[in-house]
Structure formats: structure tokens, C-alpha cells
Symmetry: C2
DNA sequence: GTGGGTGCAAAGACTTTGCAAGACG
DNA sequence: CGTCTTGCAAAGTCTTTGCACCCAC
């Protein structure tokens, strides 16, 4: 429920000593209502007509603040554009190697913790699954 | 064994219709002998004194060629610098959230394939594990 | 009021591209 | 020898920073 997430957002923004501004609220709502893990540029393109005054710079700065506050996460990618996710609890991602789409995968991989602990103390794990999405598969006829 | 990998390298480079040049050989040897998944810049820094003529441009182009030939892979990251791995068979990575180091994790996660197949046809999966490496943990005293 | 937030423009980091000269097979 | 590759410099992306103005508390 988006409403609950917005309340949570307000609480955590305040808790981080940050102010709640229309721009921050708009960025968060946009990212939280989308499933496609947008980049800063994509968020800006979508918001510039809705929100009277918002700049790409502000979107970048907002994402940095929200990341620090633990409200959004970066999604690991192979390319050079940073993409964000408003789901911060553990989950995984499916990446289409044809169209580049990234979708959530509700799956927490089972791993042998001892293997990881040889290297260090794990904090979080995520599975990145690469493949061809249903839409691209359909076009392959 | 690095020697075997170099032979494999030569075979696959030729098979891809590419030429074997000292620059390509040097880049591949360097990346294959390291465990730290270097970026183009890091490879260049290391090679520029060893190899008479090598430019950063060539390193970038070589990595692109080798990636197409299936000899190196990009490692998913949260930052904007692309990092490469000469291990192309399935494996995972441990990323230190303090020092940024990325090390191989010999672990193939067990997943429920049906969950993935709802989204598309999987090709490869890799686990990204974030945490604090032993060295950084030691410094935390 | 005051400290944080914003927008603009400029700078910065990383990567790619055009072109002429050179090397591999 | 012809074609692929290289190096240099310039251009291109994506992201961050400096600075003056503005806003909420």
C-alpha cells in the first residue's frame, strides 16, 4: 500500500534530520509506485511535467539522501547508469538481457552461510538472474 | 592454470575472427591472473609500464571485444565503474561495503526455478553478497 | 532569522568514437 | 597486402559540485 509507504517515508525522512519537501515526496512516490527501478534521468523525465519546479540535480540529490536514510536502494547493474529500488527488504531481480528491463523477483536464495563467512561478515545478499523476459521471448518468433 | 587459460584465450580470440595482439594478450593475462575484478583504468595503470605501447582506449576496446567473445564478464556493481572478471563460469561475488573489494564466492545459489520462469527464461544467475570483509572487520577494533 | 534545500551552470568521472597510422595473418 | 587494431584527441554520458537564492521551522 503506497499510502503506508509514504507515511513510513515521512517518518524516516524526519528521523534522518531531513526536511520533507514536495520534490522529495514526489521522487519517493514515483519510485515507490513503479516496478521498473528507474534511473535518476527516468524519474526526472516523468516528474518534470507533474511537479512545477524540479531539476535533475534535485533528483540526484534526493536519491542520495533517501539512500542514506535507508528508503531506497541501488540495484546492481552491469551498465553505468545507477538504478533505484524503493523495496529495501531482501529480494532479488530478474534482468532481461535483450531489453534491459529489471523486475523484482520474490525470492531469497538459500546459501551456505559458512562459505560466505570465510570471506567476511555478510549483511545482505541478492540474486541477480539474467535471461529473456516473456515479452522479448514472444517477439522472437 | 594461467597457461591453459591463455591457450583457451588464443583459440577463442581466433574463433571470433579477432587478431591476437600483444595488447589483447596482456590485458587478458592481467585480468586472468588477478582476483580483484579490475576496472579498465586499473588494468591500464598496471599495464602501461609493462607493455611498451598500450592506451586506455585500447584497454576499453579490448574488454569490449573479449566480452563479446565470451572470455570475460562484467561484474554487477552499485557504482558507475564497470569491473571485469575472467571467470566466466557461474559463480558469485562477495562485495565489501567498506573498502569496495569484490572477491569471488564459489557458490551457486539454489533457487526455485519456477519463480524465475514466471518472469522469463533464465540464462544465468549470480549471487551478490554484501558485507564486511575480514580485513575491514579486523580494523574495526 | 538560520540552516537546510533548490536550480542553474560548470566541472568531473568514466567511456566511446573519428581518423590516420601501424600491425597481424 | 588487405583488414583489423591502435593511439590520440575530441566528444559523449552520467553524476557531482559551487554558488546564490529561497523556504520551512
Amino acid at each position: 500500500m503506497l499510502k503506508d509507504r509514504v507515511e513510513e517515508f515521512k517518518r524516516r525522512v524526519k528521523a534522518s534530520g531531513l526536511k520533507i519537501t514536495p520534490q522529495r515526496l514526489a521522487v519517493y512516490k514515483e519510485i515507490a509506485s513503479r516496478q521498473d527501478h528507474p534511473s535518476a534521468e527516468e524519474l526526472y523525465e516523468r516528474l518534470k511535467d507533474k511537479i512545477e519546479g524540479i531539476s535533475l540535480t534535485t533528483v540526484y540529490r534526493t536519491l542520495a539522501s533517501l539512500e542514506k536514510a535507508g528508503l531506497v536502494q541501488r540495484v546492481p547493474t552491469l551498465k553505468d547508469k545507477v538504478r533505484y529500488d524503493a523495496r529495501v527488504e531482501p529480494h532479488s531481480h530478474f534482468v532481461c538481457i535483450k531489453c534491459g528491463k529489471i523486475v523484482d523477483l520474490d525470492l531469497i536464495p538459500e546459501v551456505d552461510r559458512s562459505k560466505i563467512e570465510e570471506l567476511g561478515e555478510p549483511v545482505s545478499c541478492t540474486l541477480m538472474c539474467y535471461g529473456i523476459c516473456r515479452e522479448c521471448k514472444g517477439e522472437e518468433t
